[in-house]
């Protein structure tokens, strides 16, 4: 019995992975089509949200847990909140339907077709295809963190063990600069005495 199950697993005909992959892919495609075809901008944003959630589900399905959670926290919890926030604050009429001109159509079509072509080209010619690995060989995020910090793993003496300390430091300093800049901007507005006080109602 167990051997028969293993053979089903190996042949990849009807595994759970496959079924779930189909479901998630259909979800992502539907949501993305929704982004394109919805007339209201808030509907498009919500569809984009669902598309991004679907992509993070895809990462979880492939066993990349950290990437999936990062996708959730950055895009869903951060970026999309800001997008919806921006729409709420800027749109005069929430149900307005923008009517694009033909030049905008042409420009959008050009960008869309070129990106689509690039993705198709890359995925056809890919050398390392992502293979779902449900066995326990996934290393987790410890090696990633160690190579970020330039710590050499005592066990693995591989020659191509890379260190990412320098890019990691650059990104950290960049983020620090952004944080300090944001704090500075927020502070200079407040310290001016002539500006009217912030309305506490909103």
């Amino acid at each position: 019995m167990a051997r028969a199950l293993d053979s089903i697993h190996a042949s990849k005909v009807m595994t759970t992975q496959w079924v779930l992959f189909i479901i998630v892919s259909v979800w992502i495609v539907m949501a993305t089509l929704g982004v394109v075809f919805s007339h209201q901008i808030i509907r498009a944003a919500v569809n984009l949200l669902f598309g991004l959630i679907g992509i993070s589900l895809l990462y979880f399905l492939l066993g990349a847990e950290y990437l999936g959670a990062a996708q959730l926290i950055i895009y869903v919890g951060g970026t999309m909140v800001l997008v919806v926030f921006g729409i709420m604050l800027t749109s005069q009429d929430g149900l307005s339907q923008p009517r694009p001109k033909w030049l905008e159509w042409a420009f959008g079509l050009f960008i869309a077709i070129s990106i689509f072509g690039m993705i198709v080209y890359a995925s056809i010619n890919a050398i390392h295809r992502p293979i779902a690995d449900q066995t326990n060989s996934l290393p987790g995020i410890t090696p990633l963190g160690q190579s970020f910090l330039g710590v050499q793993d005592a066990d693995s003496q591989e020659s191509n063990h890379r260190h990412y300390l320098f890019p990691f430091e650059i990104v950290s300093v960049h983020l620090l600069v952004v944080l300090v800049g944001a704090a500075y901007l927020a502070r200079s507005k407040r310290s001016r005495k002539n500006t009217p006080k912030v309305d506490p109602d909103v």
């Binding site: 959670a69 869903v76 929430g94 995020i141 909103v202």
Partner: protein, 418 residues
Amino acid sequence: MGTTVDRKTRCDLIALFQQYFPAWIATILAALTSAGVLVTFIALSALFFIWLERKVAARIQDRLGPTRVGGRFGWLQTLADGIKLLTKEDTIPTQADRFLFTLAPIIAFCSAFAAFIVLPFSPYLVGFSLSTGAFFILAVLSSEVFGVILAGYASASKWSLFGAIREAAQVVSYEVPRALCVLIPIMLAGSLDLTKIAQQQSGGMWNWFIFHDPFTYIAFFIFFICATASCKRAPFDLAEAESELVAGFHTEYSGLRWSFFFMAEYGSMFAVSAIAVILFLGGWHSGVLPSDTEVLFGPIIGSLINMFVYIVMKCWLLIFVMMWLRWSLPRLRIDQVMMTCLQYFLPISAVLLLGATTWQLFAPIWMRVWVPYLLFAATILGVMTLIGMLARRPTLTLAGELPGVWLGRSTPFMRAKS
């Protein structure tokens, strides 16, 4: 719920169902079973918390609270409320965006529910054990704000919109110090796996991460306040400030949809309390027993004891503190809420992270040994003092006399009479 201690001794539900069904049916059945157990758990604890909230509020305000439905303590009051909610008319404003309006409560509940997937109730009782569990929980809890924003936007009501805007600003800001405080125990444990973090705090209570050093001790309180704010509980409930915004983002909701928001709120209260318990308060370790309950009572009974006695009791204690705060403190103004976060909590939590790192690297060994005992003893002393103060009889004043510092003087009314 599936069980994963480590991947070798895995004897989870999928394996159980695989003895009777093909692999893919077994996976789906296992997933449905875990999800069903978790949804039932969230719903039942929401029922209990709503009753508890009423009782706590009543006691703090010198009332009795519900007393009639279901016997002496009004146990079944929430059930009666639930039946009332089910029979209510389900209204949607004509100006509202119907699709988003119906979607919003579901999003709010789903993200609160998703946090429970990776929450370990014992080393054997995890919905799905992720190696990055702590990060995943933070990620899904941060998407709960979406339900609120969409509800506020789709309702086509200015009260709802104001509530949603406040909520968005508040939650996005409080996420940062909350994440920094979560980072401290993760750094001490050297793992993002919630099970591993909890397993490192076995033994006496002084082994809990809250007593590890002075920085984690403060970090626990900062985390708890930020968690209260991110659950939009008073004194941070600006999103539904009923004295100014009617009911904030759920003004236009009624019936079952409205109750979804409440299930989400109580679910995320339990989730953040469970994170606090696992990261700081020893997880499923009693802190008193000489060894783990799984060792003493076997894996099945030990897991149940872990879940119901330790995790759930500690979480209830933290939720009780949240209720206590809600009914004791006045609501802050929105600019005060933002200032508290950005000007105080953000720098404090950054300093705490740096301090904990420094402690980890440079603290001499005698300090590492003695500071946990010291902090533990101080905490016990503080709690005992608090209980002693609470247990003292209230000072009663005679009729016609003033209380407190005016003790012995008669009230103006009595003076006028005499």
